[in-house]
């Protein structure tokens, strides 16, 4: 059996009186591409934020490759092999696309190496540049690499977010809605790029609304609804899963049904 690269155990998080996540537990095996689905407000982003160390859970643990990383600060999670992207990538104004991609390599960024610029520093700078150019090329950003990162389109910013995450050579990559606002043609390219990364051994967790994308990209889906995991199945089984359908049709149907029932009783 393959070992779980990510394991989440009875995770709970409340914002004030609002229970965002409750008793969430799942595993992601090495080499999987897992889609994380759920209606708006179901707790997907909170889950991602907890795993990547942005917020601390009230309860539960996050294990990465067998190591407990629950209270590891965000900037150290990257060293544990986990990188992520953001749902709404806002990019710097005064840095070009290439500069932002290069910034994602955090080696040799101390004051003294920067001031003295020894051989190691220069080599690191060359290597970073080469790698950034290569990744920008793979994600079709070469044409805009000298523009301000804030000036490129929303879809391109998403791609730049992926480039930045990949610069760290993660073993597990979590993508927050990588295709929202991205042109359908480009979506195919993203799917291809993700499969290529997966072939190279990278495990992927993708938060996504687009069912079509999920079906093409993922081998398994985890569905969240109101802070609970309601399903974990293959993408093609989603439509036949009653709880998933219920979650996506929303509470309004239930409410309507409840109202009808009440009327009948009266």
């Amino acid at each position: 059996m393959t070992r779980a690269i990510l394991e989440v155990r009875n995770l709970a998080k409340a914002f004030g009186a609002f229970q965002v996540l409750e008793d969430v537990a799942f595993q992601v095996q090495k080499g999987e591409i897992v889609g994380l689905l759920g209606p708006n407000g179901s707790g997907k982003s909170t889950l991602l934020n907890i795993i990547s160390g942005f917020i601390a859970p009230d309860k539960g643990t996050v294990m990465l490759d067998g190591r407990d990383v629950t209270s590891v600060p965000t900037f150290r999670i990257v060293n544990e092999g986990l990188a992520r992207t953001f749902q709404l990538p806002i990019m710097p104004q005064k840095m070009s696309v290439l500069e932002v991609a290069m910034a994602a390599d955090t080696t040799m960024h101390g004051v003294l190496p920067t001031l003295f610029r020894g051989a190691g520093f220069c080599k690191a700078e060359r290597d970073t540049r080469e790698r950034a150019m290569q990744l920008l090329d793979e994600l079709l950003l070469t044409r805009v690499m000298h523009l301000p990162a804030s000036a490129i389109s929303g879809g391109q910013k998403k791609l730049l977010g992926i480039v930045c995450a990949l610069m760290a050579r993660p073993r597990l990559l979590m993508l927050d809605e990588p295709t929202a606002g991205v042109h359908p043609n480009l979506r195919q390219d993203i799917v291809r790029a993700l499969h290529r990364l997966n072939d190279q051994g990278m495990t992927l967790v993708i938060v996504e609304h687009d069912m079509h994308f999920i079906r093409e990209a993922c081998n398994r889906c985890i569905v969240l609804d109101q802070g609970h995991i309601v399903a974990s199945c293959k993408p093609e089984e989603l439509a036949s899963n009653e709880r998933v359908v219920q979650a996506y049709l929303g509470a309004s149907v239930e409410e309507a049904r409840a109202q009808i029932m009440q009327k009948e009783v009266a």
Partner: protein
């Protein structure tokens, strides 16, 4: 006239060093340090204390820089729980506390009298040469620090600072320890500014709380904002402009024959107008920060 020119250039040079220190914080790192003058005060007092204790007087310079770095570390730690704007207000409070302590403490800082009799750096030179050499030293240091600060800003450290300034969440995700970056930036900016403070003390042969007034911090901010925050050349331009206004007003006073109090008000008014005009028409200063793009 010659003396006045030398005086103006020297003061401008010292302010330029302080402003370059502020630029590492406010420009590169986006840290709203409203207590920046505290670093200069520490430098001045370190030189004063070294003199008062009978230590070799040049010991004051490294001593001040080290003390300023320690203050920088403390300020960064303080920011751990504060959002950027609140952190700015807290730095103002720290600077005011240090000034008040210096004002009321007798044994170390000489209380309200300050520490007088600090020797100049080239006093053994005959006639006006001492003055001249000091000015040359200050200008050489401005050039040196400007070069170092460009190097710092252009390299990987500067890249990390800019990313922290613009997108802290992204920077943290990439693996940057923001507290460490902030600490290192404050140590750099603090050390640079403390050096200027020591020079100031040597120049006026005095260290006192007048050097630590909050108004001085805002003069530095004005210089940086008018010139171009985040760009070394812009910062220098801002310093030159503001100092030019400062130096020009006394001439105007003599020409038009109004009193000293009017001159003081006119000075502040002119600087204020300049700042306002910049904020309205050139938000990013006269020489805006350039887009960072690896060639």
């Amino acid at each position: 006239m010659y003396d006045f020119l030398i005086f103006t250039v020297t003061i401008a040079g010292i302010y330029a060093i302080m402003a370059l220190g502020l630029n590492v914080l406010a420009g590169y790192s986006g840290l709203l340090n409203f207590g920046h003058i505290a670093f200069a005060g520490i430098g001045a007092y370190a030189t004063g204390i070294a003199h008062a204790r009978g230590w070799p007087v040049l010991v004051g310079i490294p001593l001040g820089m080290i003390a300023a770095m320690i203050l920088g570390v403390a300020m960064a730690r303080m920011g751990r729980r504060l959002a950027a704007d609140y952190w700015g207000i807290a730095t103002l409070a720290v600077a005011e506390i240090l000034r008040t302590v210096a004002l009321n403490e007798d044994a170390l800082t000489g209380g309200a009298n300050g520490i007088a009799g600090i020797p100049g750096l080239f006093e053994s030179m005959p006639g006006q040469w001492g003055q001249f050499y000091f000015t040359v030293l200050v200008l050489a240091l401005v050039v040196l620090i400007a070069i170092l600060s460009v190097r710092l800003g252009d390299g990987r450290f500067g890249r990390a600072l800019r990313l922290m300034r613009e997108q802290p969440a992204l920077a943290a995700c990439m693996g940057y320890d923001l507290l460490k970056l902030k600490t290192h930036a404050l140590m750099c900016g603090g050390a640079i500014t403390a050096l200027a403070g020591s020079l100031y003390a040597h120049y006026f042969n005095f260290a006192g709380t007048e050097f630590m007034l909050a108004a001085e911090t805002f003069v530095l901010w004005t210089m940086v904002m008018i010139g171009g925050i985040g760009r070394t050349g812009g910062v220098i331009l801002g310093v030159v402009l503001v100092q030019a206004v400062y130096a020009f007003v006394p001439f105007l006073r003599d020409m038009l024959g109004f009193g000293s109090d009017v001159a003081g008000a006119l000075r502040l008014g002119l600087i204020g107008t300049l700042l306002l005009l910049c904020l309205m028409w050139r938000r990013e200063g006269l020489l805006p920060e350039k887009l960072r793009n690896p060639a």
